[in-house]
Symmetry: C2
Amino acid sequence: MQEIRIDLPIEELPTKWYNALPDLPAILPEPKDPADGTPTIENNRRIRPVALNEQDNSAKRWETIPGEVLEAYLRIGRPTPLQRAVSLERHLGTPAKIFFKREDVLPTGSFKLNSAIAQAYYAKQDGFEALISETGAGQWGTAVCIAAQSYGLGAKIFMARVSYEQKPYRRYFMKLCGGEVHPSPSNLTQSGKSFLLSDPQHPGSIGTGISEAIETALAHQGKYAYVSGSNLPHVLMHQTIIGLETKKQLAMAGLKPDTLISCVGGGSNCGGLMLPFLPEKFKDPDSLQFLAAESDSVPRLTKGVYEYGAGDASGLTPLTKSYTLGQGFVPPRIHVGGLRQHNGSPLVGLLRKEGLLDATALSQEEAFQAGRLFSLCEGILPAPESCHAIKAAIDSALEAKEEGEDRVIVFCLSGNGFFDLAGYEAILFKEGHQC
Amino acid sequence: MQEIRIDLPIEELPTKWYNALPDLPAILPEPKDPADGTPTIENNRRIRPVALNEQDNSAKRWETIPGEVLEAYLRIGRPTPLQRAVSLERHLGTPAKIFFKREDVLPTGSFKLNSAIAQAYYAKQDGFEALISETGAGQWGTAVCIAAQSYGLGAKIFMARVSYEQKPYRRYFMKLCGGEVHPSPSNLTQSGKSFLLSDPQHPGSIGTGISEAIETALAHQGKYAYVSGSNLPHVLMHQTIIGLETKKQLAMAGLKPDTLISCVGGGSNCGGLMLPFLPEKFKDPDSLQFLAAESDSVPRLTKGVYEYGAGDASGLTPLTKSYTLGQGFVPPRIHVGGLRQHNGSPLVGLLRKEGLLDATALSQEEAFQAGRLFSLCEGILPAPESCHAIKAAIDSALEAKEEGEDRVIVFCLSGNGFFDLAGYEAILFKEGHQC
Ligand SMILES: Cc1ncc(COP(=O)(O)O)c(C=O)c1O
Ligand SMILES: Cc1ncc(COP(=O)(O)O)c(C=O)c1O
């Protein structure tokens, strides 16, 4: 039975997150204020819970997970199963074993909840009344609303206007969970108003949402805790629960991974899966591959440059160093909202820079095709973001077949695709990509 | 930790289904052909896998679950967790313990997959090429498509036209999983054509879908295995996996249930949860309550009469004896597709008739309100059908509070509500039912 699914007993739920900062091969480049002198670093500190600021600069290798967060992890389904894609392997005729970590079973539909819960907990500790954040298509926003609610906090979400209008379901979901959702740009903030002034039909983006959320938090200090869904070291640290569980599960089956794969947007499911395997990677870099699957519409890791850049649309966030396509790059409209950020995680950037992380850029067509094949074989509908990891896993398994190699491939199934069926339909059936 | 979630180890997955037929307090009334002499019983036998016909009349108390089905059960997430609604209990201030069985985590979004997999397995055994069935809002149809695909079978689904048009997501899901979906009534069958002749705008229903599916299966014998999503003894038997797991999980925590609750449409999640507890119920009827939560728009168990009736729209199914509101009763349009059938399970009907099953009829408003409260407290979005069970569980917990009684309440969370957010929105926010 363990051949098909490895369940970690409840008692084995990890009780500490792993902080990779002290183990990195180089010092993580610090955030910087922009040249115009805006005190973005100080401002951002003031609107976040203290513990999270500390975690971003911590030298402690292990951070104890608070008891209430552990309890919440149990309630959302952690530890999640590590499952083997037996039918997909058979279909591919590969000698490789393909495992996937089932973050799709979490009740908001993706792994984002792991960090939202932790951030809500610390916000509550610090006496904030509500969480505030931005969301693209809505995965992160939903996680924030549910996490806030479970600690008796409010939630205010700025959602890219185009998604707000085109994807009402996630918005209903957030509202149902007690959240307040505003299309961004909105008339509620100065930055929102100025975006609308420049273009009354402004479609909005994660970037405009960040600007509006930070501005609002700054204007009501102590009321709103501003929380981020990816990028920052503390978010990646919370997500290491994914990799820590995976490690224990592989050990239960007596297996060692050869390749770890994640899709990469802001970088948190990638960091979450891979960072706990850093010790193994350092010991023998060639025996363990870290592979990031990005969208070829936003090919930061494969085509970007490693330099400082801002995260939002109006310069309210500090500049951070990572792979970027340049401040002027506008990601094309794709059906894969979670991989559309123009800047990525400094920590993931550093892994890439140091040669620890391989990357592959995939088209949304091939990703959706891979997702469809996975659905047909395994009966589980993946989120479009996760489809990128699936495609990379399939490619790796076919390589193993070619080389007659009994590889152990593990990828993160970061979310389910229940809210993305219109994307599947558009890409696979309406645009001539029938398969 | 067991106070919050009880996980059954993989090795403890039940390996036999429980067949209640030999243990019933009275003989289950046999199906009958209608007065016009149509050989419906014989016809229906011919289009179903042999094993399923046998299971409908079996005297064997335990049926071994085939190894391939067990393997599939593991892959869809069985055993599913039994979770405690600690926040909801706290919110209600009740001394009762409320547990819920998490069928919502299955990859099609509901418990329906448990029987779809079994039926697909037997169809494959008998050499059928494809499964054929009907679906209302799409939960059952999706389960059929995924189950068929996993055994290399095709799938043809007749979906009520009104849902086909209003709820494209489930249709996309079925298509993506390799299914062929037709709006019913269609022009593909005689019965479809005659429905359309009587009303060119015919909205369709589960009943018209059954007629079209059976007619097609009869016209191509040996090609299509006709499969049913509820009502029949074999479906309820497959679903006993729910109750058998629950029993083991409660035993792990040293608990005995006082009240078991399910929503009831065709009756399969109700039978699935409760039938395995029949021995306990017989031993001491007053110490264990079986409670069915139905929709007050289709109050069969609370207001219907116990008599023979047909299941489809044009008399192709045998007459079965159960609680019914009469052949002419047209269920009003509600947002709760799964509880709209006009006839129910003979087995559930018999339990009710014999005084073993209590029933309560709930409005969709109070059900959605209860579902919202559950979401806010537990962070899990329930299907509207499941909301009825939640409302009944809340009422039971409040009763326990009034009586100062430390009751153990267990309900079946039969599915998630990801595809039902428009229903929530319509009922809770647009129609003045703000809460
Ligand atoms: C399902 C899913 N997977 C992956 C991602 C990418 O995020 P990250 O790069 O932070 O892991 C997202 C982002 O929204 C997502 O929703
Ligand atoms: C989520 C869900 N729960 C419950 C039901 C009711 O079915 P049954 O009465 O067979 O348990 C359905 C039927 O479609 C459903 O989709």
